[in-house]
């Protein structure tokens, strides 16, 4: 996830980072309550079972984020001179792959229920040997409505926060929560369909939920891979580059001491790091010039951190950006 060190954030952003941890704890607490409620009501509905599994998987991203917030605070040491950033990015990738695999498994389960033409038997609601004279569908539906509400609310809040703090992993987590309207909605439609005599409605709903989980897994994976692959900085929800390289170049070229400049940036979650290659006009007061370059570059964006200014020969090929 690679959060910026707190010292680099404005007080406003610092308090937002703190509320992030609180929100993720709240997410975990609500998810656990939802999982318990679902286990007590799911009976033999494939759709509810799939929704319950999706809720279990939703525990993974908040856990990853909370752990990341802890571990990334650890200072660099001789064994790890760059700190622990990659460890967290790899763990996110692992989580994404796990979610993807589960999505495939859930899809397989729903498909096989359809192929074997399994007719779900939903009778009176029964739990731990006690039964009530009410159709189990009427118990499942309120449980599903409850399962929708906290994730949608938390998802919306977290998504807004993700955009302000530019945390891709949080955006992916928030989207997984916001999508619970689809999970619960599909399960409700499936159960009502079964109630209307359409035996396949339950399995089809489960399939829809599984596809949604698959989609989430792929999204998380793309997000982790791009962070690991030293991607250039992009907008949080779009494909558009932020063009920070050009802005840094324009800023630095205003200095008379610099004849050529090229910025090479990579985005690692919240942090943007990289190199600024400069050709100095002459070697007089080189160190001070390089210092000024760094200062001007950093002011371009609040996320620019860990920049290194490298003086090179004016004829150096690296001053040309790749085509």
């Amino acid at each position: 996830m690679t959060a910026l060190p707190m010292s680099r954030l404005s007080p406003d952003k610092q308090s937002k980072m703190k509320s992030l941890a609180r929100l993720e704890w709240a997410t975990l607490a609500f998810l656990v309550s939802i999982i318990v409620v679902m286990s007590l009501t799911m009976g033999s509905s494939q759709a509810m079972r799939t929704a319950w599994m999706e809720d279990l998987l939703s525990l993974v991203p908040p856990l990853c984020i909370l752990i990341a917030l802890r571990i990334e605070k650890r200072p660099a040491n001789p064994a790890h001179p760059y700190g622990y950033r990659r460890a967290m990015l790899l763990s996110f990738l692992g989580a994404a792959v796990a979610i993807l695999m589960f999505g495939l498994f859930m899809l397989y389960e729903s498909a096989s229920k359809l192929i074997t033409q399994h007719h779900p038997s939903l009778g009176a609601y029964t739990i731990f040997g006690h039964s009530w004279s009410v159709w189990s569908g009427w118990v499942m539906i309120p449980a599903l409505i409850y399962s929708m509400i906290p994730p949608i609310i938390l998802g919306r809040v977290k998504y807004k926060l993700a955009k302000e703090l530019h945390l891709q992993a949080l955006a992916a987590d928030a989207t997984m929560n916001k999508d619970d309207w689809l999970t619960a909605g599909a399960a409700i439609v499936g159960i009502l369909g079964v109630g209307m005599g359409l035996w396949w409605a339950d399995a089809v709903a489960a399939g829809v939920i599984a596809l949604n989980v698959l989609h989430d897994g792929i999204k998380h994976m793309k997000n982790s891979l791009s962070a690991l692959m030293d991607h250039r900085p992009m907008e949080i929800d779009g494909e558009k580059p932020l063009k920070l390289e050009e802005r840094i170049r324009d800023e630095v070229l205003q200095m008379p001491a610099i004849s050529r400049v090229r910025a090479r940036l990579r985005e690692e979650g919240q942090t943007i790091s990289g190199e600024i290659l400069v050709a100095l006009v002459n070697d007089r007061q080189a160190t001070r010039a390089l210092g000024e370059v760094l200062q001007r570059a950093r002011e371009v964006d609040w996320r620019l951190h860990d920049l290194v200014v490298v003086p090179v020969e004016p004829s150096d090929a690296r001053l040309e950006p790749p085509p």
């Binding site: 038997s121 939903l122 009176a124 599909a186 409700i188 439609v189 009502l192 079964v194 209307m196």
Partner: protein, 241 residues
């Protein structure tokens, strides 16, 4: 784009279906294969009976009797249906049920039955507790290790008794002169003995219904919840012996 379209239409679809469902609340849920409808139209309930005393016993005239036979007969009467009995082994009956050739199958089935995945099972209407029963003098702080306990064969309790350290003695029948037995709670009471707190096994009794036929299943469930409470079942059990 698809996301946005779905985001608009899915909640509406859900609401529309919910409205439709609530409107036809009385008929909810429905049978995909119209089992209940067919039974009511033909005035006939097709019941498969698997011999399993005391739940189902085949009488001398070939007529199924026993606790579950009595219950299902009462259910059929309540709906104004005649029962068409079919007898046979467990596998063939449950197979026929899976293919919708029968409506209900009875025969001491429990919720632990692996057929649960292939056919419908009612909610458990009675829980059989298999315990060690003792004569009055020995109830408190009962320790089963080393004692000889009389048990009828074929109850699946022999291993359980051995695990608890008891010595099972297999007998044909349990009688009132026995002092130490392993049997169901109601039978222990009938023999005039007292139950210890050593529970050997728990069976949740249920009936099997054709898969996915939720109208019939829910109707039978409601009947069993109302009419087959613990006292009623135990009085049927005592009468059946």
């Amino acid at each position: 784009m698809l996301q946005q379209m779905a985001q608009l239409s899915l909640p509406r679809a859900a609401l529309a279906l919910l409205a439709l469902a609530l409107a036809s609340c009385e008929r909810y849920p429905e049978d995909p294969e119209s089992s209940l409808e067919r039974a009511l139209a033909a005035d006939e309930l097709r019941v498969g009976a698997i011999s399993s005393e005391p739940w189902v016993k085949i009488g001398e005239a070939g007529q199924p009797m026993g606790v579950e036979a009595a219950l299902i007969s009462e259910f059929a009467r309540e709906l104004g249906l005649e029962i068409k009995w079919k007898q046979g082994g467990a596998e063939e009956q449950l197979d026929a049920l899976e293919r919708f050739e029968l409506d209900v199958v009875i025969g001491g089935l429990t919720r632990a039955n692996p057929w649960r995945k292939r056919v419908g099972f009612t909610a458990p209407y009675y829980t059989s507790h298999w315990l060690i029963g003792v004569s009055p003098s020995k109830t408190s702080g009962f320790d089963p290790s080393g004692v000889t306990v009389r048990v009828r064969s074929g109850n699946g309790l022999i291993r359980k008794l051995e695990k608890k350290g008891a010595v099972p003695k297999i007998v044909e029948a349990l009688g009132p002169m026995d002092e130490l037995v392993a049997a169901e709670a109601w039978e222990i009471a009938k023999l005039g003995l007292y139950p210890t707190d050593v529970e050997l096994r728990k069976d949740r009794r249920a009936m099997a219904v054709a898969p996915g036929e939720n109208a019939l299943l829910t109707r039978l469930d409601k009947f069993l919840i109302e009419r087959a409470d613990k006292d009623r079942v135990e009085s049927l059990l005592r009468a059946a012996d």
